[in-house]
Point group: C2
Chain length 396, copies 2
Amino acid sequence: MPGVCTGGPQGRPGRTGKAMKGKSASPQSESPQSASPQPASPQPGRSPSGGARKHAASLATVARDAGVSVATVSRIVNGKIGRASAETIARVEEAIARLSYRPNSVGRALRHRASRVVAMLAPNLDNPAMAAIAVSVESALRDAGYVMILCDTHDRAELQDDYLRAMRDQLVAGYVMVSAVRSKGLEETLKRGDPTVFVARRNPLGGGAYVGIDNRQAGADVADFLLGCGIERPAVLMAQQNASSTSERAAGFIERLVARGVPNDAIRRAIGPGLSHIEIGYAAAGMLVREGGWPRGALCVSDMIAYGAYRLAVEHGVPIPQRCRLVGVDGNAINAWIAPWLTSIRIPYESFGGHVVAQLQSLWSGVSTSEVHVAHEAPSAWSNPGAPARPATGAG
Amino acid sequence: MPGVCTGGPQGRPGRTGKAMKGKSASPQSESPQSASPQPASPQPGRSPSGGARKHAASLATVARDAGVSVATVSRIVNGKIGRASAETIARVEEAIARLSYRPNSVGRALRHRASRVVAMLAPNLDNPAMAAIAVSVESALRDAGYVMILCDTHDRAELQDDYLRAMRDQLVAGYVMVSAVRSKGLEETLKRGDPTVFVARRNPLGGGAYVGIDNRQAGADVADFLLGCGIERPAVLMAQQNASSTSERAAGFIERLVARGVPNDAIRRAIGPGLSHIEIGYAAAGMLVREGGWPRGALCVSDMIAYGAYRLAVEHGVPIPQRCRLVGVDGNAINAWIAPWLTSIRIPYESFGGHVVAQLQSLWSGVSTSEVHVAHEAPSAWSNPGAPARPATGAG
DNA sequence: ACAACCCAGGCAAACGTTTGCCTTAGTGGC
DNA sequence: GCCACTAAGGCAAACGTTTGCCTGGGTTGT
């Protein structure tokens, strides 16, 4: 009931929404031989205004109007000139304009056995980093004349496979797999040689086109940063699920710490369970603190994990970053506005789209592709450590 | 150069990324009669492994294998039984399994003149609220057997029109317009009677199916909340661009304040320029403060605007919410983790998908639709006003 | 005068489905 | 024996493109 002026504590924030009804009905084409024949299929001709709806103009319409054959119109539309006289071209173009003809992508796709649609499969778009990738890829695809089908896999292998199959049925031109998980369907897709680009997390089956940062290096950079801040025993907060990307960050971090003389068993590792990184961060921080109090600094292998840890710190009244410097990885744009306490390695997600499309185009033209490592930025926070403007500590 | 242990202030956070090269090349089908014939179209048969690739099985393949006609296979696949004997069905299903046949969506779409794809057009997915809507709609569509093409319109009318056209060429089954802007193409789409659902912002041309909250009521609720907190002269931070949704919130807010005895000219309104709500919030707060100092409380017509205002408060050393209570609208999930200072009206975006799909199905079956008003929640923050756990103010 | 070309464009076969209509058998009723 | 009916399934025409091949006329070369 809206209107009440209360709004007390809601308990710990739980579900990120999305009840995920366990139906697991495969999207598109509810598995052949199923008995349910597309319920309530969109009746194209039906309209409340009744009567025979005018269909959009097709090649045939234009051809008739211009007094030529469909072949000629098709060639003109596709710029295959040299096959038509100037007058014919003019006549056809006039007809096209008059009928406001636009080529039908579905017909094209059928003929070409490939559409101008690219599928992007990603886990939880709730993560701002994922959203940033989606935005970037979408825009780059658009500039290249493609559109994007977005599939939220929730990091679940079966769902990923459902989508892979459904996308194949769509004759998509390629796949963009963001943080893909290992699965049977993925294996098949790759074996078939379908154009596939992995983003942010390497192909769990090895090989393949990849766009991402050098995660090991990023981890090492954080180690250098924390040591450089005078924090001699930093910890690391990570996820249980060993996704190549984040575990590489942790590995690079530890490696560098050890290389710089920190005893291996002095590096406290907290591994949070679950799926949502934000809850992982909360849980991992809790474990860490229970076992030995707050560290003076920590690598959080993703910004979301840092958010979770921050929440615990706030609950405990531990000021961040003064008593514990958290360093995340991602550099979400929102940090600059509402998370000034967070130091983060910024990943330039806004440039990923261009690289992804370039990789796809390589695959389409048969060129073999290699991994693309985008440069990440140095650890940075909104304000310098110890600089004047600090959040919400000023005179109150 | 990664590795440096500095990371000073980056200046005010600026661009939300996305350089938007002004190309404005229409996605898909670069406008007929254009001379550029699909550069580097995906060569379907080409594979580095060379040789004739095996195409996926089609109805014809299955028919041949089972020794029946394609018509029979089609009918069986679609569950139109009663036309085939039990043995035939068994034989065909066996063939389907053996060849792992899956119906080709493109062929279907061509035949039906409508695909099982729904287009969602939204401005900037950077906004967590938009992302939440996208997640919800995607999931609901999937459960209904559809997939979603996502189009980022950047709130620009021409881009919206480009996409609307491109989506029509795709024979999409329907349109989900999130915060649509008025445009010529939208007008045509509606005139054509294409199934269209508006989300979060009403149809700028009036009428049509809608899913969203009662924005006026939400504004009034915030007014009640702030007055109830003893804040007698609250302000409002809003955007210049008069989107129906946010301006209705502001209107409802002011209306209620006036109704409860606040003199109209005592209500300070700050109207920020620009497109990104977060920068609008920053700018609006700046204007407000310059003109008369910080208010004791304010409605921010969206959470993003509150984020922007918060940044200014941090810069000025003004503690939020102690000295100025900000109340946003959206209730982004992230608030509970890293924005405990924010009170917000939560909009249950995770339930929008279901309503949107229901609206679409109504449209598809020719039933006339009405607006769906989802109930928003009461203003709430993570912690009670003045409750013990306050962020980062504890003993340092 | 004839071969060799080129130009402009049409024919028709795909691509994978769906579906109205037809045919062929079989069955029951009279 | 004939009619009516049903069950089982095939034929072929769409849906909108693309493209290899063909044709008919014109030009050029010798």
